[in-house]
Homo-oligomer: 414 residues x 2
């Protein structure tokens, strides 16, 4: 197979942490990211948390020369924050928004408002590169999953697992249209977490860090490290070396093979500078894509009995989330009913007073109307919550059922 035409694909992935008014030294960093990308000339750049469309437009103008093709994925109230810059033409894009993404009332976490998604864009490696006779199609996807705010008591785990499952399903169903799949993003999961094992096992994606022939960067490939000046060190207390939550994953689908020749991360600062690109480290992979004689087939990365265990583990966690969501739906419903009863009681009292049943004024008017407004407020809020948790229950149920179906399929395979 040596001597066959090959394509080298250099991929850059970064969670940019570019939130207007909130992220420190944002403009300076976005400029720095732009300068580096222009200088280094990657083939494919996958960025997350570019929340401001203005920043995207600035980058687009700056990078127009070396990355003539780009796409910004819009979703949610704030946006998905995902964008792709590419040396190769982007033929087509598709955005898949996860069905669950935290709670709208957890304002301090804000994930719900972001509409976290996976953005898929299909590119065709240019014949002008001259290194590859037949041009592989690859959909580089950029994605971000729900953040983890407390590892010990992680209320968002079921949501993140639903997202990991939906991401895996999305990749399984769309990757057949490609020769090579590249997925980069901040998955908000440690390498050994069930969500990552599920994603890798169910899609056959390979982890560039684990597969790389050469590695250069932070120890263990960490992408949230203590010596990044924007890191909140208290969050990393249990992990003195840092954690790895940003990934480049890949697989070959049809008659191609992919190998990761080199993986690099930044190490707390941008190369040659004294500030980092972001509070996350950048991940840079050099992939070698090679055409091979026969189709590789769609293999699962993990041996199937192990994969069945992973799916079972994930399903158990989703089940835990489902029970919690059902409890919350019930509480919200009960609260709404109580508020409604209070309102009805007040209405009865008013009617009674109007009919002259009660002597004089039973309540001071002010407190009476305040109470009515309070009851109305609680009724509206509790109804909203009830509807929200009803949706949550449905999506968790749906995922659990899909996982059950997957387990059956795994068990029935010869």
């Amino acid at each position: 197979m040596e001597g066959e035409p090959t394509l080298q694909l250099r991929v850059f992935d970064l969670n940019c942490w570019a939130i207007r008014y909130l992220s420190k030294r944002r403009q300076e960093r976005v400029q720095l990211i732009g300068d580096t990308l222009r200088r280094e000339g990657f083939d494919l750049v996958l960025l997350q948390e570019v929340w401001s469309e203005r920043d995207y437009s600035d980058l687009k103008v700056k990078l127009g020369g070396c990355y003539p093709f780009s796409h910004y994925f819009r979703s949610g109230v704030i946006g998905s924050g995902l964008c792709v810059f590419s040396r190769f033409p982007i033929l087509d894009t598709l955005l898949y928004q996860y069905s669950l993404n935290g709670y709208p009332y957890m304002l301090q976490h804000g994930d719900w408002f972001c509409g976290k998604s996976v953005g898929l864009s299909r590119s065709r490696a240019s014949a002008g590169m001259g290194v590859l006779a037949s041009r592989p199609l690859f959909p580089p996807s950029s994605c971000q999953l729900h953040a983890e705010y407390c590892r010990e008591k992680d209320a968002y785990l079921p949501h993140r697992l639903v997202q990991a499952w939906e991401l895996a399903q999305f990749i399984r169903h769309t990757s057949k249209a490609a020769d090579v799949v590249v997925l980069g993003g901040d998955l908000n999961m440690h390498p050994e977490d069930v969500g990552i094992r599920l994603l890798r096992g169910w899609t056959g994606l390979r982890d560039a860090f684990a597969e790389a022939t050469r590695f250069e960067g932070c120890e263990d490939g960490c992408t949230l490290v203590p010596n990044n000046c924007f890191t909140v060190n208290s969050e990393l207390l249990p992990f003195p070396l840092g954690i790895r939550i940003d990934y480049i994953l890949y697989k070959a689908v049809s008659s191609f093979t992919v190998k990761c020749e080199e993986l690099k991360t930044t190490t707390g600062t941008a190369p040659g500078m004294d500030i980092p690109f972001s509070d996350h480290e950048a991940v840079m992979a050099t992939l070698r894509i090679r055409r091979q004689g026969q189709a590789a087939g769609d293999t699962l990365a993990t041996a199937e009995p192990t994969l069945a265990d992973v799916v079972t583990e994930a399903r158990t966690e989703v089940g835990v989330g489902l029970r919690a969501a059902r409890r919350q739906r019930y509480s919200a419903g009960r609260m709404a009913v109580l508020a409604l009863l209070l309102l009805l009681l007040q209405a009865a009292a008013v009617l009674g007073a109007l009919a002259g049943l009660a002597a004089g004024q039973p309540f001071p008017k002010l407190s009476f109307s305040l109470l009515a407004f309070l009851a109305l407020g609680v009724l509206l809020l509790a109804t909203g919550l009830h509807l929200f948790h009803t949706m949550e229950v449905k999506m968790l149920q749906g995922t659990e059922e899909q996982m059950r179906m997957a387990l059956r399929a795994l068990q029935e395979r010869p």
Copy 2:
């Protein structure tokens, strides 16, 4: 090609109109649908508007013998209402929820609460059928788009076009994993509407009604007809024959060909009964799938210059929707700012009174607090609306951009 192994696929599609408490004679009709499906033994049954999971479970129990595989797609507050019954094993499912689906405050239309979606399930035609040497994979999809409430002044047209576009993109990206694609559903669009032309043109799907060798049923293949006793006749006044909004569409992807041998619709009542299955007519297609020597390639159904016109037309409509959404976002934002100003003014008055600046009591307490509550209510509502329309703007912008990209790709093709 004659004499090659073939597979006959009989598909049943119906919008069941099974809303608990609201749909007339629901239980009777669901039972009738179940009896007919059991008797007729279709290969594939695509149902919409099965809003009650209880109805699905009843059908599942009744149909277990002849359709051993089934799936119910959960989404939104009420659900997607989509389900699939199949004689062939369902290997995998994926639900794609449209990013726009009406307005939550249009309670009387209710589309927003349904989480309208397309449900994809991958099946493998069983070798046990013995008619086909190699087993085609087909993802039968069931889908429903936003309803049309007023054809003359259709406020939902941009949303329906976004849905048609997302449906088309979803099919394009997922269909490569299949040999044959079958899509059935209530598309809420007339055959000549821009959304249908877009969907057909951009995916290469063929309309079973237009392609069928034999047809039997309502004139012009209509599926909302005046002689269905559940039809609201005033809605059909401009269309004395009825309208066709339920479709079975199909295409072959790899080395297969598909032909529609026969298409049937019910004609106002269920066969041999005096009540209809639903307020929609059922659509039944007999498809003949044949393996051919060479791969068919992914063809577009419409000639490309025409397709470019269709995409341009759709993009114009989406642009109209975008401008309307921007206006609504602006109005909601202005309303929120005004309410906030009123609240601040009241707060200043209270502080002034407390500081003894104003002599006596400037307002009666009751009206003062009522006004404050009103302002607070308007503030919350207007903020919610502003956020909602912000999302709407983003999704319309995203779709417009994708369409622009598609147009460029169409123009650049050799």
